[in-house]
Amino acid sequence: MQRRTFLTGVAVALAPFAARATPEALTAAIKEVTGDAPLREGKVTLDVPPLVENGNTVPLSVSVESPMTSDDYVKAIHVFNEKNPQPHVFNAWLSPANGRAVVATRIKLADAQKVVAIAETSKGEFWAAHAEVIVTIAACVEDIT
């Protein structure tokens, strides 16, 4: 067997196992939130460690530059990932009553991948930040034992 034939065979055999959120699913999930509005980089700070040992619990915090007054505030913060089984991580809704547009939580990451945070302002603007995270022990995939 030729090396090329063999490699193609391996690629075809492995393809069915790629049942995960893909960059396309990520784009689609983001589109669902932003609609046709332009998505710009900036204003959002996504704080997540670049190298994670355990993907089962990854600290993540999102903060957005905003005065948080009644005529200019962050309405929502959405977080997405690229390679977990689903692209959604969380949606959080805020108001001027929060004073600061900051949300922190802990998430699961199934693989080394990109994480995207999007802030939706009361003026209908969308700001984004992304981070690449390397995960050594993945979440979700192993069984309980």
Partner: protein, 106 residues
Amino acid sequence: MANILVNAPKTAKKGEIVEIKALIMHVMETGFRPGTNGRIIPRNIIEDFTATWNGRGIFRMKMSPAIAANPFVSFSAVASESGTIALRWTGDEGFAAEHRVDITVT
């Protein structure tokens, strides 16, 4: 029923921004993992987290299976008036939990 840990200041000055941290014990089973018998373990997650200040909604979060087990959430709020901050979690299999903390605003 559920073990809950909430960290919020007991007193605050009016207009001050306070940080509220909440942790709840929950498996957050994703619904994507096979168990020891090879079958997929059904999804069991907390889907919704809300916070109210004297009944007024101040924060809401929709969670997905990608939130780590024993969900931790931290957010901030402007101390407007003395009263009660109520935190509610709801999710799969009829899960519902509530925790209240009192805050005095001077």
